[in-house]
C-alpha cells in the first residue's frame, strides 16, 4: 500500500476510502457525454476536520481534489480530469439546524435535496426550500456551487442567492466561515453587510474550496400547489407571455418547454405555470388572474390553456421525475443539456437554434426554459437525448452541444454549469480584466492548483 492511501485511511478509516478498480471505474464518469477519466482514490469524509486533513495532505503531495455531491451535473464537472482524489461528500449529510422564525436551515456539505425536503415535511411543514428538478439524491452544496435553479427561483432568484452562510475548507486547508456565522451563531446572511465573500466560491464549481456547511433560506410552504399549462405554436410570443405572467408577481415557477415527441407535444411551446395558496379561494383568484393575463393570446387564437388533469400529479411532483422520462425518447437513458442563462427576449432565437441543431446532427431535442427571479433572465436548456449504447449518437449530441454553447456565447448569454471546454470558450470571450481578476482569485486561493483542476483553469 502506498503512503497516500495509508494517510487517507488514517484520516477517514478503511471504509471511507478506496482505490479498488470497480470503484475507480464508477467514479471516473458521469451520465453526460464526456470521456471518463479515472481518479486515483475515492474518499468519503464524515467531518469538516477530515476534509481539512485530506486537503492538507493533497496540498503536501500536490494531488488533485475533486469535491463531488451526487455527480449529476451532467457536464463532467466531477470527472477527475487530472486524476487524484474524488471527495465524495455524501456521508456529510446532517441537517444541523433549522431556525423556523428566521426561515433558514444549516446543513452539511453533502446533504441531499431529498433529505432536507423530507426533514422539513416532517418537522416544519410550513417551510420549504427551492428544490431543483434534479434527482433527490443530488446535493444542496453542489447545486449552489454551480448556481442551480429550483422551484422557487422565479420568486427568489438562483438557488445560490438563497445561501445564508458557509463553512469552507480552503484549498490550503484553513476552515473559513463566510457571512453572519463568521460573527456569531446565526446563519442569516451570506454577505451583507460585510463584503460578500460567498462569490469566491459560488459558481466556481469546487475549484476554490469545499463547502462543508451551508446555510440556506427557507420559504413559506403553502397548503395548496396548483398548475396551469398554456400552449402556443408561436415561439415569438413566448417572451411576451413570460412578461405578462411575471407581471402578476404571484407565480411560484414558470417553465417553457417543447419537444417533437410524443406527438401530443409536436409543434407547440408549453408554458407550465405553478402557483400556490392556503385556501381554495386564493387558488381560484390566482387562476383567474393567470387566465386574464393571457386573454389576448386566447382571443387571437394563438394560445390556449390545455387541460392538465391527466398530467397534474406528474407536473406537481418535486422534483419532477417525468422530465427525464419524457426526455428519454431514444430509450437509452442519455440526456444532456447546455443551459445558457440569458434574457427572455431571446427565447425565439434559442428555440430556432435547438430545432436547427437537432436536424443538423440528427438527434432528438427536449428543451425547456425556467424563469429566474421574475423574468430578469431565464435558463434555456438546449437538451438532447441519446442512447448510451450508441457512441455515434453520443458524438453527434456532443457536437450539437458544443455548437449550442458557441451560439449562446455569441448571443451574449452566460453558460451555466459549463464543461471544461465550454469554460475555455467562455474565458476566451470574457473581458480581459474580468479574466485577470478571476486569475488573481484562483491563484491566491489555490496556489498549488489542486482544486478540481481542468475546471476554471485560469492560471
Amino acid at each position: 500500500m502506498n503512503d497516500v492511501m495509508q494517510s487517507l485511511i488514517d484520516i477517514v478509516g478503511e471504509r471511507g476510502v478506496s482505490n479498488a478498480a470497480e470503484e475507480l471505474w464508477f467514479y471516473s464518469r458521469d451520465p453526460g457525454v464526456l470521456e471518463p477519466h479515472k481518479p486515483d482514490y475515492v474518499v468519503a469524509p464524515k467531518t469538516t476536520e477530515q476534509v481539512q486533513k485530506i486537503v492538507q495532505l493533497a496540498n503536501r503531495e500536490k494531488i488533485p481534489v475533486v469535491p463531488m455531491g451526487n455527480g449529476m451535473a451532467l457536464t463532467g464537472l466531477v470527472i477527475p480530469l487530472k486524476g487524484g482524489i474524488v471527495l465524495d461528500m455524501k456521508r456529510m449529510n446532517k441537517i444541523l439546524e433549522v431556525n423556523e422564525k428566521a426561515r433558514y436551515a444549516v446543513v452539511e456539505g453533502g446533504t441531499s435535496q431529498g433529505v432536507l425536503k423530507a426533514y422539513l415535511q416532517e418537522n416544519y411543514p410550513h417551510l420549504r426550500h427551492s428544490i431543483p428538478d434534479a434527482p433527490s439524491t443530488t446535493t444542496i452544496a453542489a447545486n449552489v456551487a454551480l448556481h442551480g435553479q429550483g422551484r422557487l427561483t422565479n420568486q427568489y432568484g438562483f438557488n445560490s442567492d438563497m445561501v445564508t452562510g458557509m463553512e469552507i475548507v480552503l484549498p490550503t486547508g484553513e476552515i473559513c466561515l463566510i457571512g453572519s456565522p463568521s460573527l456569531g451563531p446565526y446563519w442569516f446572511s451570506k454577505g451583507p453587510t460585510l463584503p460578500d465573500l460567498s462569490g469566491l466560491f459560488l459558481g466556481w464549481l469546487g475549484t476554490t474550496g469545499i463547502i462543508t456547511k451551508l446555510g440556506l433560506k427557507l420559504f413559506p410552504n403553502k397548503k395548496i400547489r396548483e398548475v396551469e399549462m398554456f400552449v402556443t405554436d408561436k415561439a415569438e410570443l413566448v417572451p411576451e407571455i413570460f412578461y405578462k405572467l411575471t407581471h402578476l408577481e404571484i407565480l411560484e415557477d414558470v417553465n417553457a418547454w417543447f419537444q417533437p415527441k410524443p406527438l401530443i407535444f409536436k409543434g407547440n411551446f408549453h408554458i407550465t405555470i405553478y402557483f400556490t395558496g392556503d385556501a381554495e379561494e386564493e387558488i381560484e383568484f390566482k387562476r383567474r388572474m393567470i387566465w386574464d393575463a393571457l386573454q389576448e393570446f386566447i382571443d387571437s387564437k394563438d394560445g390556449g390553456f390545455m387541460n392538465v388533469q391527466y398530467t397534474k400529479d406528474m407536473l406537481l411532483e418535486m422534483p419532477q421525475r417525468g422530465i427525464a422520462n419524457f426526455a428519454d425518447v431514444p430509450k437509452g437513458g442519455g440526456f444532456e443539456y447546455s443551459g445558457p442563462i440569458t434574457i427572455i427576449e431571446h427565447f425565439p432565437q434559442y428555440a430556432a437554434k435547438v430545432i436547427e441543431l437537432a436536424k443538423k446532427y440528427d438527434v432528438l431535442y427536449a428543451s425547456s426554459a425556467r424563469l429566474i427571479c421574475g423574468g430578469h433572465c431565464m435558463m434555456f436548456s438546449i437538451s438532447f437525448a441519446f442512447n448510451r449504447n450508441n457512441p455515434a449518437m453520443m458524438k453527434r449530441v456532443k457536437e450539437a452541444l458544443d455548437e449550442a454553447t458557441a451560439f449562446a456565447l455569441e448571443m451574449g448569454a452566460v453558460p451555466w454549469k459549463p464543461n471544461f471546454m465550454e469554460q475555455q470558450m467562455t474565458m476566451k470571450k470574457i473581458h480581459p480584466a474580468t479574466l485577470k481578476l478571476m486569475q488573481m482569485i484562483k491563484r491566491n486561493l489555490d496556489p498549488q492548483g489542486i482544486m478540481n483542476p481542468g475546471n476554471w483553469e485560469v492560471i
Binding site: 400552449v231 401530443i264 409543434g267 407547440n268 381554495e280 387562476r287 387564437k301 394563438d302 390556449g304 390545455m306
Partner: protein, 343 residues
C-alpha cells in the same frame, strides 16, 4: 371526399328553429332572428353563430327534423378558416389522436369491445358484467371515433379518419362493436350517416348491453339505495333515443335520480371544451350552475357516463361533497364487485 348531407329546404320551411332558439349559449329575439341566422349559415355567409357557438352538440338533439345543424356550423367554420379553440390546442388534438400503429387488439371473434382511445374504458369494461366481451377489447387511435374534432371545427379530420377507423373494424371481421364511449356510438350512427359512410358492422351502445347484462345478473343485485345526479355528456346529444336507458339501468340497481333543472334536453356540458373554446368565465359559470343544481337534488353521487366528463368534473364535485362515479361502476357496486366510492 365525403360531404355532409344537409337538407336546406327542411330548414327553409322550419317552423321552430329550435336548433338555435333552444341553444343555452346564445339568445335570439325569436324564431325570425334564429331562422335568419340559420339561413345565413346554410348560404355560407357570416353569422354570429359561427363566432359564438360553444360547441356543446345540443342542437343536434334540438333539431327534430333530421338535419345536422352542429355539423353544418362546424363545416362552415372550417371553410372560413375559423378556429373555435386556440390553434395550438386544435392541432394538439389532431396530433395526439394521429394513428401511429400503437393500438391494442384483444381476442376478437364476431364481437369487439371498443375502448376508443381512452385508457379508463379498458378498466371499466371488465368483470362479471363484461365477462364475455372483455377479452375482445380494442384500443388506440386506429379505433378511436374522431368526433372530438367537431368541437374544433375540423370536420376534414373526421372525413379523413373515420373511414379508416371503420375499415380497421371491418378488417377485424366483427359483426358487432360494443361502444363503451357514447361518442363512438354517436359517430358510427349519427356522424357516419350524416356523411353517407357505410358501417359494415352493428354498433351496439354499451348501455343497451349493460341493461341486458344487469337483467341477467338480477339475482346478484343488491339495491344500492343511493341518490345520484347524472352528468349527461355532449355526445349523448347525438343519440337522444338512448337517453331512457339510464333510468332503466338505475331502476334495476336501486338508484334514485331526482329531477333537476339541468337534465335531459336541458342538461349542461361538463365545461372542459367550453373552457378551451369560450374561456374560463363561461366554463366556471356552467360548472358552478351544474354542480349547484346537482347538490340541490340531495344527491350523494355525481354519476358519469363519459370518462372525459369525469376527468373534468371529478375533483370539482368531490370538493363540494359529491362522490364521482361512472354508471358502470355503480352496476359493479350493485353486484358486489366494487366497493362503494368515497369522495
Amino acid at each position: 371526399m365525403y360531404k355532409l348531407k344537409f337538407n336546406d329546404k327542411v330548414c327553409a320551411t322550419c317552423p321552430s328553429s329550435d336548433c338555435l332558439l333552444k341553444c343555452q349559449y346564445m339568445t335570439f329575439s325569436g324564431h325570425k332572428e334564429a331562422h335568419a341566422e340559420m339561413m345565413k349559415i346554410i348560404r355560407g355567409k357570416d353569422s354570429r353563430v359561427l363566432h359564438e357557438c360553444a360547441t356543446c352538440y345540443a342542437c343536434e338533439e334540438y333539431c327534430k327534423r333530421g338535419n345536422h345543424p352542429f355539423y353544418l356550423i362546424s363545416e362552415r367554420r372550417e371553410e372560413k378558416g375559423m378556429f373555435t379553440a386556440a390553434r395550438p390546442i386544435t392541432n394538439q388534438w389532431i396530433n395526439m389522436t394521429e394513428m401511429q400503429g400503437k393500438f391494442l387488439v384483444g381476442d376478437i371473434k364476431d364481437k369487439a369491445l371498443s375502448c376508443c382511445y381512452i385508457p379508463e374504458l379498458g378498466v371499466l369494461g371488465t368483470g362479471e358484467i363484461f365477462k364475455d366481451v372483455a377479452a375482445a377489447g380494442v384500443f388506440g387511435a386506429e379505433f378511436m371515433c374522431p368526433a372530438v374534432h367537431t368541437h374544433f371545427a375540423k370536420m376534414s379530420v373526421i372525413k379523413e379518419r373515420l373511414p379508416v377507423v371503420i375499415e380497421n373494424f371491418r378488417r377485424l371481421g366483427v359483426k358487432e362493436v360494443i361502444c363503451l364511449h357514447d361518442e363512438c356510438y354517436g359517430t358510427f350512427t349519427s356522424i357516419a350517416s350524416a356523411y353517407g359512410m357505410e358501417v359494415p358492422f352493428k354498433p351496439v351502445y354499451y348501455m343497451d348491453y349493460l341493461l341486458e347484462r344487469m337483467k341477467e345478473l338480477k339475482s346478484k343485485i343488491k339495491p344500492l339505495n343511493i341518490t345520484v345526479a347524472y352528468q349527461r355528456p355532449c355526445s349523448n346529444r347525438l343519440i337522444p333515443d338512448k337517453l331512457p336507458l339510464v333510468k332503466k339501468i338505475l331502476k334495476l340497481i336501486g338508484v334514485k335520480m331526482p329531477k333537476r333543472v339541468y337534465q335531459d334536453e336541458n342538461c349542461l356540458c361538463c365545461g372542459e371544451v367550453i373552457r378551451s373554446v369560450s374561456g374560463y368565465k363561461l366554463a366556471d359559470d356552467v360548472q358552478k350552475r351544474n354542480i349547484d343544481d346537482m347538490l340541490q337534488t340531495g344527491a350523494e353521487y355525481c354519476m358519469f357516463n363519459c370518462p372525459a366528463c369525469q376527468m373534468a368534473l371529478a375533483e370539482k364535485v368531490s370538493k363540494r361533497g359529491l362522490k364521482p362515479v361512472h354508471i358502470i361502476d355503480l352496476c359493479k357496486m350493485a353486484i358486489g364487485e366494487k366497493e362503494r366510492e368515497v369522495a
